[in-house]
């Protein structure tokens, strides 16, 4: 029978092995869709991994690739971009630009040794709180498995 036992005392050693590793994920969410979905998730008291630090932008097309690179360099373990579904962009074509940038940037980051799972682009509509919850939870779990990025640079 399983017994309730107090959690083992964390040592720095077990921490570095990743058992208690909590990824830091920077999430750039479009004001018109994914940000609204995260708001809806909050209002609906849905729970999702607290690892995402949300940055609200007016359009996913506002996200310069250097924002993503800066996030990784500054200690993010993952970066997520949330934008409107194709055809739904509030500014008509911002999300298409993001899609094409993502296609190149994802390949480029892999050349730098940053795994594909650490950089995601998701189309999540304003009413898709459930999808947001699942995506965030999955990304957090994926990165927990990969371990910290801990970017050192040159």
């Amino acid at each position: 029978m399983a017994q309730a036992v107090s959690p083992p005392i964390q040592t720095t050693e077990s921490k570095s092995e990743g058992s208690s590793f909590e990824p830091k994920i920077v999430a750039f969410f479009c004001n018109w869709c994914t940000y609204a979905a995260s708001d809806l998730a909050g209002i609906s008291r849905m729970k999702y991994a607290p690892n995402v630090k949300i940055v609200r932008v007016m359009c996913s097309g506002r996200i310069d690739p250097s924002f993503v690179i800066e996030a990784f360099r500054s200690g993010a373990d993952g970066v997520m971009i949330g934008g409107c579904n194709p055809g739904d962009c509030h500014y008509k074509e911002g999300n298409y630009k993001t899609m094409r940038r993502y296609m190149l940037l994802s390949r480029m980051l892999q050349d730098f040794g940053i795994e594909k799972e650490r950089f995601r682009l998701e189309w999540i509509c304003a009413s898709c709180a459930r999808e947001l919850q699942e995506t965030v939870d999955k990304m957090t779990a994926d990165i927990k498995r990969l371990g910290p990025l801990d970017w050192k640079g040159v």
């Binding site: 690739p65 194709p86 940037l105 730098f112 940053i114």
Partner: protein, 324 residues
């Protein structure tokens, strides 16, 4: 009044920057008449000990080209910095890392393994690998150590000015020398070239459409370039929109698109990110699968967008397993 003392030195570079000095043609005589060259290993027989014997700050200007990737280059850069009043990073490699900087996608071990063991042109699979120390009958010999990471000059010493280009054009070199001699230099840290993007000085700029959109990306081998029409409008990636001007679009005139050797503009935080962003933005394809096909025609995004600037970029190098 004594003539100002000048030093030239090369680090990890191809020699093209030294060639650029010679390309000054007869103007080089004016330079030689105006200055006293005290150190230039590629052309004149001076030794490191000669530099070591000079008093600190006795050299007016040191022009250092090439990236820094060995212990020797690091020592020489630091020695010249100590002996010089002014250090100028000369050429793309010293400026932002240049072509040697692409080695930052690997590390020393991977490079040695390929070039001395596994490469298809290596005869012996147990080939000799460079070492820093070896014993010979005459005693122990020491060679410089190659680093895992290539750096640009300002990552190892303080740099006063930058002369960009692969190599810098004779005109820019002559202008820089004149500015130094006349004491008319801009604020420290300036790049001694244009301040606007290359498109501004390109002859083909007038043929660039108002709203530049392309349906496909073409590689140079796929297209007969019309030399009278903006290359971007013809679907060939040209780095003009994101690259510092000052070269007078020489490559464009030679029917080659800009590859970005003058590096980033003053306000660009990361050249590769900016270049990637602009290329993705002008492709006018919205379907996911169609867009993927077009973007895949950018065969090597990292190599194209960071061709001259990987060490100076925000990420700087490939993540090293173990070190991270």
């Amino acid at each position: 009044m004594a003539k100002p003392k000048v030093a030239f030195y090369w680090c990890a570079s191809c020699g093209g920057c030294e060639e650029a000095v010679v390309d000054l043609a007869e103007k080089v005589l004016d330079v030689v008449a105006a200055v006293d060259i005290v150190f230039w290993p590629v052309a004149l027989d001076f030794k490191r000990s000669d530099v070591e014997a000079m008093p600190d700050k006795s050299i007016a200007v040191s022009f250092i080209n090439g990236a820094i990737r060995t212990s020797e280059q690091d020592e020489m850069a630091k020695l010249l910095r100590k002996k010089s009043q002014m250090v100028i990073a000369f050429g793309a490699c010293a400026h932002e890392g240049g072509i040697p900087g692409l080695a930052n996608l690997w590390n020393r071990r991977a490079i040695f393994d390929w070039y001395y063991r596994n490469g298809p042109s290596v005869a012996s699979k147990e080939g000799a690998v460079p070492m820093t120390k070896i014993k010979v009958p005459e005693g122990e010999l020491e060679l410089p150590e190659i680093w895992d990471t290539v750096k640009c000059l300002d990552q190892v010493v303080d740099v006063d000015y930058y002369l960009p280009g692969c190599p810098p054009t004779p005109k820019l070199i002559a202008n820089a020398v004149q500015a130094i001699l006349a004491g008319k230099l801009p604020a420290k840290g300036a790049v001694l070239a244009g301040t606007k993007a290359l498109c501004g000085e390109c002859k083909l700029n007038s043929t660039k459409p108002e709203k530049l959109l392309i349906k496909d990306i073409k590689r140079m081998t796929e297209v007969f370039l019309d030399p009278e029409k903006c290359y971007l409008a013809q679907g060939v990636i040209c780095m003009g929109p994101v690259t510092r001007g000052g070269c007078e679009a020489l490559c464009i005139e030679g029917r080659m698109p800009c590859s970005g050797c003058f590096g980033s503009l003053d306000k660009t935080p990361d050249y590769g990110a900016k270049a990637l962003s602009y290329v993705a933005s002008i492709v006018d394809v919205t379907g996911q699968e169609e867009a993927r096909k077009v973007m895949e025609k950018v065969a090597d995004p990292t190599g194209i967008f960071y061709r001259y600037s990987m060490p100076a970029s925000k990420l700087g190098r490939k993540r090293q397993k173990g070190a991270n």
